[in-house]
């Protein structure tokens, strides 16, 4: 844990690892949950889609963060696993002849979401297998292979053609049902996304403070030392790939509800790259970083849209180039962060907290 006020001390390791050690943190967290709950009432509906896009990014980047930031396994093919999750979930909802009971109880989608996580996790492990042997640059190549093999080849060429629906699967209204709730409006998508983010962040934070998490960090810091100390590095690397894939699968499955359809163009290689950029901007090796990075990127894109779209009346040329402007702005942001704040936004956040923790001194 970080900075503790005077008079807070621990007699047992369990207390030492507790999340909510002070009333301040407790109040902060309760406020955060309140804000998440009240958010739809506080802002215009436009921002709801921004919010759940951020959530989607957070869910997807969590896995990237785990692999790169905590386990040191650089991945450039994460969109493939999100795609596997999205397709698994969509196809299960569409094609499986669910018993009436399950459809009535709204269990089809939740079941498919978990299945999506597992399928994506397994798929991720498959492409993580080379990590037992190769490191660094070569591992990047194998994860890129995951992207190329999965999305343009398997999904586009074969999976998309199942059922003869042409290029994409669309989900008829009412099929995405979570218990008694039909997810059919932005507000409901938002709540689903917020709940998933909170839940999965808790899961991830818990994993990271457990034996598994310590093993991952040991592998990241020095894999040879970790192995010498008895960490089964192949096993833990594969667990990392599985968990990262699982999170990606959940993310993919969730995003189906927001789009109401799946199509390969949402899982292009650019996304794999962008999610790595997101954690670079947010801060590598920090859960806060995942969240800050996702917010930063999505919001910057949104602001670019908001400034450029009104200008298209005067300069129609902009409308054509919006996508390129967005991408170059993203590239610029990554470059600037790497140059000026290589530790990312989470480091800035930490510095801000420290500024007040050390008040009225500087150290």
């Amino acid at each position: 844990m970080g900075y503790l006020p005077c008079g807070i001390y621990h007699e047992y390791y369990k207390q030492d690892h507790a999340w909510w050690q002070t009333r301040f943190v407790y109040v902060k967290m309760v406020l955060l949950v309140l804000v998440l709950i009240l958010f739809p009432y506080l802002v215009s509906p436009m921002w709801l889609s921004v919010a759940y896009t951020i959530s989607y990014y957070i869910l997807a980047c969590m896995g990237v963060q785990l692999l790169i930031g905590y386990c040191g396994q650089i991945t450039l093919g994460h969109a493939a696993f999100v795609a596997v999750g999205a397709y698994t979930s969509a196809m299960m909802v569409l094609f499986i002849p669910w018993p009436k009971l399950i459809v009535d109880w709204g269990l089809a989608y939740p079941i498919s979401m978990i299945a999506a996580g597992i399928a994506a996790g397994m798929w991720s492990v498959l492409f993580g297998l080379p990590s037992a042997r190769v490191k660094g640059f070569y591992l990047i190549m194998t994860t890129m292979a995951a992207q190329w093999i999965t999305v343009p080849f398997i999904i586009t060429q074969y999976v998309s053609r199942i059922g003869g629906r042409g290029h994409y699967f669309s989900l008829p209204p009412g099929t995405v049902k979570l218990g008694p709730w039909v997810i059919d409006s932005d507000v409901k998508v938002y709540y689903l996304s917020a709940a998933l983010v909170v839940l999965l962040t808790l899961v991830m934070a818990n994993l990271l403070r457990s034996k598994v998490g310590r093993a991952w960090i040991a592998i990241r810091d020095n894999d040879i030392a970790a192995e010498t100390l008895g960490v089964n590095i192949v096993w833990y690397k594969l667990v990392a790939f599985f968990v990262a894939g699982f999170f990606a699968g959940i993310a993919g499955s969730f995003y189906v509800t927001a789009l109401y359809f799946v199509s390969p163009e949402h899982y292009e290689w650019f996304f794999s790259l962008m999610w790595v950029g997101v954690i670079l901007i947010g801060g590598v090796g920090s859960l806060h970083g995942t969240i800050f990075g996702s917010m930063f990127v999505v919001l910057v894109f949104k602001f670019l849209e908001m400034t450029i779209i009104p200008m298209t009346d005067m300069f129609p040329w902009f409308a054509m180039k919006l996508i390129y402007i967005k991408e170059s702005a993203f590239g610029l942001a990554v470059v600037l962060f790497l140059l000026y704040e290589p530790n990312g936004l989470s480091y800035r956040y930490w510095q801000l907290k420290n500024y007040f923790n050390l008040w009225p001194f500087s150290y």
């Binding site: 621990h10 007699e11 008040w359 500087s362």
Partner: protein, 647 residues
């Protein structure tokens, strides 16, 4: 001066002539059992708790173990080591079996260890680890009474096979065996104890001669603690951090006298080096420390303040201004106007709260300082940030303390009023004498000294002082240290030194001027802060001697001296000073173990410097040797600059 009228506090126990410290331990263990934590020790990053039951069991088996090794009533057990639960257990174990505890300072040199072990006729030597065992093994042949050396920390002990050695665990094992044979033995032993039995043999630091062993009874210790708590009650929910040497009476007073009576939790730091950090974690409710620790705190704050960013510096300055104002209202006992109260609350929110948090003083109810003089500037500082700092005055010979400030009656130039059942008077010669149930029984094997100190039950302190208009005791200085200035007025070197030490750059000061034409000072700069100061300004240096002689450093040191001079009458002003080429050190006998200057010794040792200060030369050639702890002798040749202070 008569005893104050404070009476009983809630939960006060009745001290009869049958009550002893071990009986209290037994009572607490029965009362609290596993429900309350008696002590904690920080290890491996967490504060490992020991309940009262565990406390008692450890003491019991250790005590019985020592009995089976031959400990009898009245035998001495000498203990040396850092503050750890095992140290306290050993002390209590000795007392339970009717033995007498003797504490040594952890950093005592071989000669001191030998002197005390031999003089006290100690039978057992309780050592923390290898270092202490080595000291004991080196002296064991010269101390005929010593029979066993008990060690606790196994680090480095693998190859030690001297038959005199026995481990803490083995002793406890012997105790368990004896307990199985005679299950009632322990309680019998404890019940045999009487309040007037000697429980501690306490060697005073002694600024002049060899250490003297003060004999203290259970009754002395208990009444002292009780009378202190009648002024400032402690509660069983309190936390206390024990990190000052057990060989200092102040630590015994809190851990034993008060701790056992109330049953608060004693916390032990991980290592001596981490103690400040550990204190901050715990945030104790009561603190008792010698002035140097508070001086260190103010020094830290001042240095950090200088390094802080502009906005933070301004915020701190403003808050301190308000704090000082409020403190002055309190010192003058004036009612505080509501708008000042409001301002103070704001200052608390934006600065003092965090400041106290950094210093580990967030929860402190009473902070005491005693054992040496403390400068008024330090005192005001702590009251400005809202810490209830109080002066304490006392001696080992009165089991700790006899005079303390009351909450609403604090004057920074006094030490307060006597605690209940205590009388303090001033003799015609101006010496402070006191009488209370806690006055000691005499010095061990030193009848002559006893007779000099203890006359008709009155304890003669050797301090000069007077009682001011409000009935507060003012301690001027040790009688023999008082300076007679050029105009025949008297001045206290301790007071001047304490004022000088408010500067973060000065670690120690030694003021000279008795029967001299003017007053001078020998300064020891603080290597850390001055070193950093020099680095920030690009001033190169390689060592303490070199740094101390740099002319910029002389200018730096001169500023606080001029500041202090402003408040002093003409003859008391410091006219010349010299920066010493080394820090004063207890290992060189220049300081006592409680860091008081041993004046007669340093005057002899540095007589060349004194001569230079009172001659016209401004450069003094120094050719001397330093003895390191391991016995190496190093020659030092250096030139000291004598600097005049502009008036």
């Amino acid at each position: 001066m008569s005893p104050a009228d404070e009476r009983h506090y809630p939960g006060e126990i009745e001290i009869t002539h049958d009550l002893t410290l071990p009986k209290l331990l037994l009572k607490n263990a029965k009362k609290f059992k596993e429900q309350r934590v008696a002590m904690r020790e920080k290890e491996f990053g967490v504060w490992i708790p020991y309940t009262w039951r565990e406390y008692l069991e450890n003491v019991k088996f250790l005590s019985l173990g020592m009995v089976s090794l031959g400990l009898e009533r009245g035998n001495k057990v000498v203990m040396i080591g850092d503050n750890r639960p095992e140290g306290l257990w050993a002390e209590m174990a000795a007392m339970c079996a009717g033995g007498i505890g003797v504490w040594l300072f952890q950093d005592c040199l071989m000669d001191e260890v030998q002197y005390i072990v031999d003089h006290s006729d100690s039978k057992f030597y309780f050592a923390e680890g290898q270092e202490e065992v080595d000291k004991a093994l080196a002296i064991k042949d010269k101390c005929s009474k010593l029979t066993r050396i008990i060690w606790d920390d196994p680090k480095g002990m693998r190859n030690y096979d001297d038959p005199i050695l026995i481990s803490f665990k083995e002793v406890q094992e012997l105790g368990r065996k004896l307990d199985r044979e005679k299950p009632d033995l322990f309680e019998d032993l404890v019940n045999q104890g009487k309040a007037d039995d000697i429980c501690l043999l306490f060697y005073t630091s002694g600024t002049t001669a060899l250490p003297k062993g003060a004999l203290l009874t259970h009754y002395n210790m208990l009444t002292m603690g009780q009378n202190l708590m009648r002024v400032d009650p402690c509660y069983e929910t309190d936390d206390f951090v024990s990190y000052l040497p057990f060989a200092w009476i102040g630590e015994q007073m809190m851990s034993i006298s008060c701790g056992l009576q109330v049953g608060f939790t004693i916390n032990f730091p991980e290592e001596p080096e981490t103690s400040q950090e550990n204190v901050r974690e715990i945030g104790p409710h009561v603190m008792f420390a010698p002035p140097r620790l508070y001086e260190q705190m103010t020094r830290t704050v001042q240095v950090k303040y200088l390094d802080a960013a502009w906005l933070k510096r301004k915020a701190y300055e403003l808050a301190m201004k308000i704090g000082y104002h409020i403190a002055d209202f309190k010192f003058e006992k004036k009612p505080i106007p509501w708008y000042w109260n409001l301002l103070e609350y704001l200052a608390y929110l934006w600065c003092h709260k965090k400041l106290r948090d950094h210093l580990g003083l967030s929860r402190v109810r009473n902070a005491y300082t005693g054992g040496a003089a403390m400068g008024p500037d330090h005192f005001r500082f702590f009251h400005a940030i809202g810490v209830n700092l109080k002066q304490i005055y006392g001696q080992t010979e009165i089991a700790g303390i006899s005079v303390v400030h009351r909450n609403d009656d604090i004057k920074f130039d006094t030490v307060g009023k006597p605690i209940p059942e205590t009388e303090v008077r001033i003799t015609e010669q101006g010496e402070i004498i006191s009488k209370s149930p806690s006055v000691f029984q005499g010095y061990y094997k030193m009848d002559e000294e006893t007779a000099k100190t203890l006359k008709d039950g009155w304890l003669h302190s050797g301090d000069t002082g007077f009682i001011d208009g409000d009935g507060h005791l003012v301690v001027f200085d040790r009688t023999k240290d008082i300076m007679i200035l050029s105009d025949d007025s008297k001045s206290s070197p301790q007071f001047l030194e304490a004022r000088l030490k408010f500067s973060p750059f000065l670690k120690d000061a030694w003021v000279i001027g008795d029967h001299k034409p003017y007053v001078t000072a020998v300064i020891c700069i603080d290597y850390n802060t001055v070193g950093k100061w020099a680095e920030d300004r690009g001033i190169a240096y390689t060592s303490y001697p070199e740094l101390s002689q740099i002319s910029e450093v002389y200018e730096l040191v001169q500023k606080p001296i001029m500041q202090v001079n402003k408040t002093l009458p003409g003859p008391a002003k410091i006219r010349k000073f010299v920066n010493l080429y080394k820090e004063l050190d207890a290992d060189d006998d220049e300081l006592t173990r409680t860091r008081k200057i041993r004046r007669s010794f340093v005057e002899e040792r540095y007589k060349d410097i004194i001569n230079a200060l009172y001659s016209n030369s401004d450069i003094m050639h120094m050719d001397t040797s330093i003895t390191y702890e391991d016995g190496r002798v190093v020659k030092i040749r250096t030139d000291l600059r004598v600097s005049e202070v502009p008036v």
